[in-house]
């Protein structure tokens, strides 16, 4: 027993009996096996969700490169899903010079959809081929919901992962209360490789139009804090487990998604081999946050966002 400060247990007469009974009571609980897998899976999910939230934090701009994909309604998307499907992305400018604005800004806009919180707007963000297998990356905009509807929506999102083979536990009310924020849409990125949807998705929470971002970033139009470097936010498909046994993204293309500020006109990705590409700037439904995607041909690249006059607005290494 501690005897410091106030004499501890002896401070209250008869405390000894309570102490003994507490010890006895604590010993009666049956200690089951340690749920290593469940704890680690839950911990990784928290890490990924936190990364998504944090990287979405600055809500500024950025870039990436994407294979050319024509805008097609009802294109090759996840067949078991509901909601409008829109292909995004535009032909790339393989070697545009810095500061040289493209003749036509590669921007695709999905038509504003009714804000049904249980029917997402889906947009194809990127596509390509890796190891001979075709892949497509999709974004689904799940509109902001009321506190009462948040768990239902979270379960729908989880069910899509589950249908793809995820063994993650379903979201709980506690989880939703802790990680979901009012006036924020859920942007969920998913990956289809060789016709099969990867069992894990990556989410990013973004403010609805007119909402104040919970991370306290400056309003659109203001100068990026701390200069133009490393100021973009977003999400990415990335395998954290390198052994490939428990990470669905192991071996999959590493696609990066970056938020784009309203004043940005176009984006460029400069790859390690000197190639410069221009990914499409994509609008999801009526979300004020636009996106670009960088495909996973290499993890070494630098994305730059430019104003219409060619002024560099923001940049970040991939």
């Amino acid at each position: 027993m501690n005897r410091d400060e106030t004499g501890s247990a002896g401070a209250v007469e008869g405390t000894g009996a309570v102490v003994r009974e507490l010890s006895g009571l604590a010993e009666t609980v049956q200690i089951g096996p340690v749920p290593y897998t469940a704890v680690q899976a839950g911990g990784r999910r928290r890490v990924m969700r936190r990364r998504s939230l944090l990287t979405g934090a600055t809500a500024l701009a950025v870039v990436a490169a994407v294979g050319g994909v024509a805008a097609v309604n009802g294109g090759p998307g996840p067949s078991s899903r509901t909601g409008p499907l829109i292909a995004a992305s535009a032909p790339l400018s393989p070697a545009a010079g810095p500061g040289q604005a493209p003749a036509a800004t590669p921007t695709q806009t999905a038509p504003p959809a009714p804000r049904d919180p249980f029917t997402p707007v889906r947009v194809q963000m990127a596509s390509g081929t890796k190891d001979g297998k075709p892949w497509t990356a999709w974004a689904a905009l799940w509109p902001a919901v009321s506190k009462e509807q948040a768990l239902q929506q979270a379960r729908l999102i989880w069910e899509e992962d589950k249908a793809a083979g995820s063994t993650d536990s379903p979201p709980t009310q506690d989880y939703v209360d802790q990680y979901r924020h009012a006036d924020h849409d859920q942007v969920v990125f998913s990956l289809i490789v060789d016709g099969k949807r990867i069992s894990r998705s990556v989410a990013s929470e973004q403010p609805v139009r007119g909402a104040v971002p919970f991370w306290g970033t400056p309003p659109p139009g203001s100068t990026p804090p701390g200069g133009v470097e490393d100021v973009t936010g977003g999400a990415a498909f990335h395998a954290w487990a390198k052994n490939g046994t428990d990470d669905p993204f192991y071996g999959a293309p590493e696609v990066g998604f970056f938020t784009v500020a309203p004043e940005v006109s176009y984006a460029e990705v400069k790859w390690a081999d000197g190639t410069v590409t221009r990914p499409a700037v994509v609008t999801l439904g009526d979300s004020p946050v636009r996106w670009v995607a960088a495909d996973g041909t290499s993890s070494k690249y630098r994305v730059s966002l430019y104003l219409a006059d060619g002024t560099l607005y923001a940049a970040q290494k991939g």
């Binding site: 501890s8 008869g14 309570v18 009974e21 507490l22 604590a26 911990g43 990784r44 390198k242 052994n243």
Partner: protein, 173 residues
Amino acid sequence: MGAKKAERDFEFNAFMTGAWPRLMRTAFLLSGERYLAEDLVQTALERTYAAWGKVTRADDPYAYVRRILINEHARRFRRKLPERLVTAVPEQSGPDGFGRVDDRAALLEALGTLPPGQRQAVVLRYWEDLSESQAAAAMGCSVGTVKSQASKGIAKLRELSSLNTRTSIGGAA
């Protein structure tokens, strides 16, 4: 990168193996129910895993996790009063060995009636055996608050006649 992560997971698993029984017992005293306790501990460990780098830099990793556990318990309690089903109303029992099980059921019942702050203070002071300052750090409150909460909690628990009887026979520890 892969080796580093594997090392981190190995380290975390080793910590979890050692901490799990003690955390379970503390959570059981806080929640009053085994499955609630498992859920509480699992949630606390998930949060620990997510912040493992910070936890390992702490002087006492277990204290860090315990703080998470206490916060999680307080957070859940704030949102919803706990419901706990009991199979039978505990009967008053004498100080003999046969009555011990009933004593514990009564104590568990009494713990469940304490406000969360008092319950946490009692469990941390008299089960986790923390000093007042350590308990204050775990609860995120002042030493004075711990003193008063623990004192009130113990006083209420002592209203259990079985504990009073036991005290009168065995004397104070």
